[in-house]
Amino acid sequence: MIDAATIRKDFPLLERRYGDTPLVYLDSAATTQKPNSVIDAISTYYRETNANVHRGAYRLADEATTAYESARTKVAGLINARSSSEVIFTRGTTAALNLLALRWADHLLSEGDRILLTLMEHHSNIVPWQLVAQRTGAELVYLDITPDFAIDLDRLDEVLDERVKIATVSGMSNVMGTIGPVDEITKAARAVGASVIVDGAQLVPHMPVDVQALDVDFLTFSAHKMLGPTGIGALWGRGELLDAMEPLEGGGEMITDVGLYESRWAPIPHKFEAGTPPIAQAVGFGAAVDYLVDLGMDDVRAHELDITAYALDRLAEVPDLTVYGPQDPARRGGAVSFELADIHAHDLATILDEEQGVAVRAGHHCAKPLMRHLEVPATARASFYVYTVPEDIDALVIGLMRAREIFGIA
């Protein structure tokens, strides 16, 4: 079991104060804080090992290459990839999804084909597909949300026919916390021969994920949402699919030969990693994976279940507060969106921040289609991670009561 109060000490930012008020960080779905081990791995890399990778005949460059490639092995291990060559380092989830849209979907789809999404997708898993649709003539089809904030699977069979070539679904909603029905959608998609992409930006950080067991085709995630640095994330894909995909970017490192008018590509993963890669970031990503593996992903999930249950209970004590998301912690992760009476989310965020040092996000959370569906222009969102303690939730609740006072709500 995770002892969040103890591991907090590994996270220097959590010691921040505004004057007398300690910071209460409840915005981990946007980006997580970093343990010292990650911050130090990056500094140590720059202080002791920094060199460009893959082309050095000297020892330092060899050390740098080993550091970079062993990060890949760690990331591959976390998601149980068959081979580390199936892990492509990208700038993040958004870059990974766009790579798939531009080089997988563009070649696969034509007029009349369909892409299946859900209404709970993040903009990063919507906009790339809108652009694919515009380029190829394919259509987007959305699965609905039920009144209890789940993906509506009732129409799945109806919607999934052989026109659907790609199903792309969030593993976990960054707004409602809802765990996506990846299993059901994958089975149904397989039956009609569609490929399955999972936007794992919120899933991979929060639960054990095994790509071989999931039986999906592609998985994308971002290091910065799982204790790692900004500027790096990963695309995992089945080797044979990645082998068949054309590179998006050309340049150094991704070739075996360059002529004046033609070039030959290196094998995966390098084919998709043109130019100097985010080396120090990969090292930091590897350290983040080490930290999570040490905690144990089962325990990470167990802690999230506990803290989310506690949060939902405490929020239920606040009058006039509406939670947009499942009430059952087993069906969700620790991103909790809510609205309080007629107080706009933005005002709520200011009051929580100023009164209690509580950092929550306010707005559309890069999920405008979902917000329109929920008929709410903006929500406030508190989101948790391995270092979140019940006291953080208590501060949130005090702040919410104070907001009621300030807005003169009896």
Partner: protein, 155 residues
Amino acid sequence: MSLQELYREVILDHYRNPRHRGHLPSPDVHAEGENPSCGDEFSLDLDVDGQTVAAIATQGQGCSISQASGSMMAEAVVGKSLDEIHELTSRFKRMMSIEEGESPVDEERPGSVLGDLEALQGVRRFPVRIKCADLPWTTLEDAIRRVEQGSEVLP
């Protein structure tokens, strides 16, 4: 300064009971504004009679600061000449940009030109929120510019 001063009663009142809400039947000009970073939206219809804003109606949704600012602005500009509105806009922007602690922008109190709008002074201490207060004014400037250019007086 405390949050209590940011969220003054007059602001909450304008937020909850925005003045001049709605649409004009056939406005001379319509302008829309948005803060992409927080999602606040504000739009307005104007009827302009010669050089005077004869009527205004506003729409929008967003935080109390943006919506109250819009409501106060609507009250302040109706019946004013375009020149007076330019003057008012620049006074407002000056008020929002001066350092906290400096003297209030309007030396002529009581009988302040900015009136209720001065209640928004408190926003200055919250830099993230200044753009909320500014949104309606930026939208208004856009509308007035179009009136002056004669480019978009609706039929």
